[in-house]
Amino acid sequence: MKKVLLSCVALGGLLAATAGARPAHSQELLNVSYDPTRELWRDINARFIAQYAREKGVTLQIKQSHGGSSTQARAVIDGLEADVVTLASVIDTDAIAQRGLITGDWTERLPHDSLPYYSTIVFVVRKGNPKGIKDWPDLVKPGVEIITPNPKTSGNGYLSFFSAWGSVVLRGGSRQNAVDYVTKLYRQVPVLDSGARGAAATFVQREIGDVHLAWENEAHLEVREARGDLELVYPPLSIRAEPHVAVVDQNVDRKKTRAAAEAYLKYLYTDEAQEIIAKHFYRPSNEAVLNRHAATFPAMRLFSVKEIALGFADAHKKFIAEGGVFDTIYKPR
């Protein structure tokens, strides 16, 4: 028993030693991100690696990890050695910060509140928009079926909920009006998929529902892949979704990768990276680049979560978490 334990410790020590002794001219970064950003980061990484090698003479290897945003956050909290996190919601990044892995006022460290890009929730409808869905009130017309994932288990899900809520209270509706509206809306949701991927499959492959409330970037891909069977509808107003990026201080300090990690995130604000971001249908935070792609990103009012709550965490607590508004929608039969 003792011997086994000893050899385990020795092996662990050996691994740690070899990891520490890696030559300085090649480094590895781990970018822990959420689900649909796989292609975006692949493109960005290729360009950044080339640039960094040219300018600093350091060969980088950037690994990507993708999954549900809060699952990824929990993995980082539990010890996944992310150098940078690029998650879907500040709730998840803050959960990491609260455990001391990211320190200080991290949103202040990079331009635009550490948001190289932002996004929103839009509508995808069937060809010709047979139910005439143009705006949020159209969703609760009789006979309209809405596909959106479960707000309790999905970022796409709670962003849809926040948008729906904002569409009432920001147009002068009362809190009660908003409760009535979301209750009606979710009663017309036939399937509450656990995540964005499942909801897309339900809507596209299984042809269930008349409208799919999706991330703007995913909606673009969905419509493109459907080759004319689906259409994009921009509601006049929707939530501003904010996928912040951050360096995980504790990890980069231990792995001695801070310089590369910081350069990596700074690179996201260059024109080159902003163009790649736009190409993947995320709204670049650089206005000049955004305006160049005005055809892809029609103007719409993107309201801040601060207009309906203190912030994303507060909105999640009020509306989605145990005992929130969402829990009052469904009644036991």
Binding site: M1, V4, S70, T71, A73, R74, A95, N150, K152, T153, P190, V191, L192, D193, S194, G198, A201, T202, Q205, R206, E207, I208, H316, I320, A321, E322, D327, Y330, K331, P332, R333
Partner: protein, 276 residues
Amino acid sequence: MAGVNRKVLPGFSLSLGYTLFYLTVLVMVPILACFSKAASLSLDQFRAAVWTERTRAAYVLTFGASFAAAAVDVLLGMLVAWVLVRYRFPGRRIMDSLIDLPLALPTAVGGLVYASLYVKKGWLGQYLVPLGIQGAYSRLAIVLVLVFIGLPFVVRTVQPVLEDQDADSEEAAASLGATRWQAFQRVILPPLYPALITGFALSFARSLGEYGSVVFVSGNMPYKTEIAPVLIVARLEEFAYGEATAIAVVLLIVSFAMLVLINVLERWSKGGAARA
């Protein structure tokens, strides 16, 4: 026992030591961690997390659907094992290997495929939905996919027992004037009871924890088709680790109790078979 004779096989203490070590590392420590996390809650918090109208509905559904699926698996599994053991026909080998497929397939794939088949526009759904049979996004859907996932456990436990059974005893029963039904009921079935019960227990236990496939077919509607593991994930999304593990602990305790009960039943059925 009582230390009378030396053991025939050597290395008892070593192998027991390893067994205990692995059980501890692989099973006991994770379960203990689960309990200790749940213990971070006060009693009131614990009760609030695990005992609401919504969680109760989810427990009933989780245990009910798993029980129903395991019961169907016992019937189907026995039939499949019977066919595979007793008859020789072309394609038998392939059929035999097909049985294990649900074990190898990522269950999410199973769930996605089932949902696609049974929706209104799916291959099967186009005929079933007009008849009022909702094989997707319903409780029936959950049972269906759980039957799929649990079937190999019954087939694989029953098959070897059937293989050991000689056809002689059936022929003897027939020559003594038993009808086919009597021969089945009195001669073939009793030795199978322990294997059937084990198969039931395995497929039941497997179903209780199943998440990947069920979330894709159930529709996850609160109070209707929301299984308990979905609630665990929902609480995790709030970073409410304590509450999430509290629900897991309830599932663990109930499952453990049921498995103990099934074990007792199995022991008892073995005794019954020996007496017969």
